[in-house]
Amino acid sequence: MDSGGASDPSRQVRVRFLTKLPAPLRAPPTSIAVPADLTRMGLSEIVNSLLLAASPDHQAQPFDFLVDGELVRLPLQEFLLAKGISVERVLELEYVKAVAPRKQEDPCPHDDWVSAVDGSNPSFVLTGCYDGLARIWRDASECTHILEGHSDGITSARFINKGETEDRLHVVTASKDRSLRLFKFDTSVSVPKQIGAYKILRGHTSSVQSVAVDPSTNMICSGSWDNSIKLWSVEGSEEDGDTVSVKKRRTNSDSSGPEESLFEGSATSTFLGHTQCVSAVTWPERQTIYSASWDHSVRQWDVQTGKETWNMVSGKALNCLDCGGESSSLIAAGGSDPVLRVWDPRKPGTLAPIFQFSSHKSWISACKWHPSSWFHLVSSSFDGKVMLWDLRTAWPLASVESHKDKVLCADWWKGDSVISGGADSKLCIASGIEIV
């Protein structure tokens, strides 16, 4: 014991705990010596005891530690060795709340595989299912509306308005039946649970894989298996649709559904260029569309001219794409291999990804940036896991393994939850993720 005590002081590091967290979670900024072989958990305990000393009613909670903008994932000593950081000076450890789901909500059962999920509305969750129905879940617990009309599985579904007008929701769904449908309904009225589309967007010759909404919510773009990206207009979609010249009135003849008259819209423009299935589209800015395709490329399109302005070949067939991160300019994409890659299109001349996250075991089916954090990503994979990532470390922050089968879609919800749908016909919600 004595000998161990004699050798320990030589392996001590002087650290100072800093944070950007609000006051009750702020540890005294004095430097203390801690054993160098501490891991994240040990450091977390020290911070918790410091906080407890400051305020007796402090609840212990896990923290994550940053050194020079990198999360500590090894024992401190190994981390410092690996990074070549000197232990001579006082090490400044910035701590943030550990990002991990604290709680698993009850999953929302579906009739078939859940293939699309949108969590951009803080009070409602939109899911698309392989049975051709899209569902609206209030607070991710109660199914209030069922949006019907598609004759084949829904591949993608999006809120068009983000819920500024709380009682009126506007939704677009894309399906394997080669059409997109627009729905509009009142959330306060839940009497007609089943809701039909007020407008069908036809034009794709093969299944529509992905849909994205323009930030100004006037336009929609969709990527399809027919290698094209089509732009659709949302405007003029009110009941007095006769005023729009493009639309023609037609009865839905082929489906066995109720005899209802629907408006049909056609694409305002088509972007051709991809040579294979366009599996993901995203519309981060008004003038730019990014698309990912099975032809291994990520392309940037100028909405005004319809020309592609940037083309990057990744080497793998891509399934999902999202823009985000620092000033919303990084591109995360995953595809037919277990690696989630992040590119920076501002870097000229290189096509090498700037970050690669490879803890998944199978294809990546979805990836999403956190709506407010620059660093956090969620990804889902066919190996049944949903993983949370931080750009500042190559290890996953957390892995949600609530699904029994392939996870097909995942999204952030309310900034602190991750919702994911999978082949086990469930929508799982992992909540309590504190990202400050």
């Binding site: 595989w113 299944s207 294979q276 299935c277 032809d295 037919s336 277990p338 294809w363 066919f382 392939k406």
Partner: protein, 678 residues
């Protein structure tokens, strides 16, 4: 010089100096020397040691500057003056008082050195010269060299070396005689030549050099030992004695009594020849009793045992390997399985990929045909056809979603019910059939094929006269072929979908047909029989080529998208690559599988081909075909894909590439379809 004694005040005129009288002799010298010693010793002493230094100094620059500074002016200008001139500071130099001549004479007569005194009129002082200076002066007066030890006539030493100098010392032009052959020499040479010819001159015999040889040299490796014909092989060297042969070996070498006893149980040949023993001293070692015997045996061995020279080739085994490019450079190719398509309840016997790669269809022996979505692995359609599905083929035309499946003995054409409305309508139209043309064929024998509408699935059934084994589409999607192995002259059938018409163009085949495929771009047709591949021209309806595989039994065939290369898999696990332009024999035969190859296939876009086998593996190869006809195809084995488990001794039953991605689908007997991605 510069040696002047100013303290002698005597005046000495030049004319009465003793030099002219020749009174300077060695005797005088001796006398004066002795006198000096007694008299003014200090002065004489300073003279003698200085002599060598004086001799060396030859320059007039050492002279002390004259006291007087009047320059070179006539001295009579100062004759009547009180002074003789001016010193260096400009003050007057006073004339000394003239001594009386008598007085001076007397003083000089007493002084032996007087004769060496000279009056310097210019400086108005007396200078005494040394004896050496006096000697030099006298020698100069005699016309001799100033110094005695100079030899005026030394022997001439010629320091220049003339030997081997390329350049003449003189720059005079070469005289003419140097260029004219010497007449005298010519005469001399003629004389010598005549003498040699007539034998008057006899030369010495060349000196014999003593013949040394290496006394301890190794004779074995010298080239001299090589005899004519038979090569000399040195005898093997006997083993050198080791520690155990020592008279005093270490303890560990000496066997215990038990060990010695155990030797008796051994066979005669296995027993050790020599048992080490310990002796106190070398003197007590007895004679080796087997010495004679062993010597004799060795002689016998050397004499009787033929020795052969072993030819050892020193080749780096790495250099014998063919130079193959690195696998990294050949990416992408399928490597890992990420997706499994599960749902069948029996071995999946066949699979087929839709032209765009969005769906695959699989047929299983559980009597179902399933269509799967590739991107998620979801089964989107199931047909329960009620019979073993041997073979399934998706129409290669992207707007005709028709599945051709071999169910039990017959062929079933199905509408896959995917794709947009136009394609659906077209497909439905193609699968409409009127039941009319049945009676006319009922002549002599049963028709080969009957087209019947299949009510349950809204498709067409092609009822063959015997069991169908395979079905293959033409690349345009209108024609397809079926093979009926036991069909004799109607074994290979061609069908046209649009006209619902069948015929059998090949009357005679050199064996049981196994498979038949269309050329991917031309009007050619390949029929694989058990040992051969027949290549037909469909337009001229004639045999073009016959490829000999050399394997036991062909099981599958695939045509390279270029059309000039064919791969054939066999039931003995061999894969043959034919370059039809090169030869009718295989360009390469790869023995990779331990069991039957079930299918071979080419990728349509990437230079890849794969083979699947009953040994639960699938192999992926890089198969590059160059447009340059002089360059042979490059075949590199890339990956062994494992993952399927064996069921009833059967492994992987089918493999197909994705039409656009470097992915491979494999159908296993374990009722799973796997997708291997890059």
């Amino acid at each position: 010089m510069g040696h002047s004694d100013g303290d002698h005040g005597s005046d000495l005129s030049a004319d009465d100096s003793p030099w002219s009288e020749g009174s300077w002799s060695d005797d005088d010298d001796e006398g004066s020397l002795s006198f000096e010693d007694s008299g003014e010793g200090s002065d004489a002493d300073s003279d003698e040691p200085d002599a060598p230094a004086v001799e060396e100094s030859d320059s007039s620059e050492d002279e002390v500057a004259p006291r007087n500074t009047i320059g070179d002016v006539p001295l009579e200008w100062y004759k009547n003056e009180e002074h003789i001139g001016y010193d260096i500071t400009g003050s007057k130099i006073k004339k000394r008082d003239r001594e009386g001549r008598i007085e001076a004479y007397l003083r000089n007569a007493d002084d032996a050195k007087n004769w060496r005194k000279i009056y310097d009129e210019y400086n108005d002082e007396e200078v005494q010269i040394t004896k050496e200076e006096a000697k030099i002066i006298s020698r100069l007066l005699k016309g001799k060299t100033p110094h005695t030890n100079v030899d005026p006539y030394p022997d001439y030493v010629d320091w220049f070396e003339y030997d081997g100098k390329g350049h003449p010392l003189s720059s005079a032009p070469e005289p003419k005689r140097r260029f004219v052959p010497s007449k005298w020499e010519q005469k001399k040479v003629v004389k010598l030549v005549r003498a040699i010819r007539k034998g008057w001159i006899k030369f010495d015999k060349p000196k014999e050099e003593p013949n040394f040889y290496l006394l301890w040299g190794d004779e074995t490796d010298t080239a001299d030992n090589k005899r004519q014909g038979l090569s000399y092989i040195p005898a093997p060297k006997p083993n050198l004695p080791g520690h155990e042969e020592s008279y005093n070996p270490s303890v560990e070498y000496i066997p215990t009594q038990e060990e010695i006893d155990s030797y008796q149980l051994m066979y005669e040949e296995d027993r050790p020849k020599f048992i080490p023993r310990k002796f106190d001293c070398l003197r007590s070692v007895p004679a080796y009793e087997k010495a004679l015997r062993e010597g004799f045996d060795r002689c016998l061995d050397l004499y009787l045992c033929p020795r052969t020279r072993k030819k050892r080739i020193n080749i780096d085994p790495e250099s014998l390997k063919p130079k193959l490019p690195s696998k990294k450079d050949l990416r992408p190719y399928p490597r890992t399985c990420y997706l499994e398509f599960k749902g069948h309840n029996g071995p999946v016997k066949s699979l087929s990929v839709e032209a765009t790669g969005q769906w695959i269809a699989s047929g299983s022996s559980d009597g179902t045909i399933r269509v799967w979505e590739v991107e998620t692995g979801r089964c989107i359609k199931v047909w329960n056809v009620g019979g073993v599905v041997h073979r399934i083929a998706w129409n290669p035309s992207p707007d005709r979603h028709i599945l051709a499946a071999v169910v039990d003995h017959d062929l079933l054409l199905l509408n896959a019910e995917v794709g947009d409305e136009d394609a659906q309508m077209k497909t439905k139209g193609l699968l409409q059939i009127e039941e009319l043309a049945q009676e006319e064929d009922n002549g002599d024998k049963k028709p080969a094929v009957k087209w019947v509408k299949h009510e349950k699935f809204d498709g067409i059934m092609l009822i063959h006269h015997k069991a169908v084994s395979t079905v293959e589409w033409h690349f345009k999607g209108d024609y397809f072929t079926t093979v009926v192995p036991s069909g004799d002259s109607r074994a290979v059938l061609l069908h046209q979908l649009s006209k619902k018409h069948s015929h059998h163009p090949f009357r005679k085949l050199p064996g049981l047909p196994i498979a038949a495929v269309f050329h991917p771009s031309q009007k050619m047709f390949f029929v694989a029989t058990k040992k051969f591949v027949q290549v037909y021209d469909l337009q001229k309806a004639q045999l073009v080529k016959k490829l000999e595989s050399g394997v036991r039994e062909i099981s599958s065939i695939s045509i390279h998208p270029g059309g000039d290369n064919v791969i054939v898999g066999s039931k003995d696990g061999k894969l043959c690559w034919f370059d039809t332009d090169l030869s009718t024999r295989p360009y390469k035969t790869l023995k990779n599988h331990s069991k039957d190859i079930t299918n071979v296939t080419f990728h349509r876009k990437y230079p890849l081909f794969a083979s699947s086998s009953e040994d639960c593996t699938a192999y992926v190869f890089h198969g590059m075909v160059y447009s340059d006809l002089n360059q042979n195809p490059l075949i590199v084995p890339l990956e062994i894909l494992r993952g399927h488990s064996s069921s009833d001794g059967r492994g992987v039953l089918d493999c197909k590439f994705h039409p656009r991605q470097p992915w491979l689908f494999t159908a296993g007997a374990d009722s799973v379809v796997r997708l291997y991605c890059d």
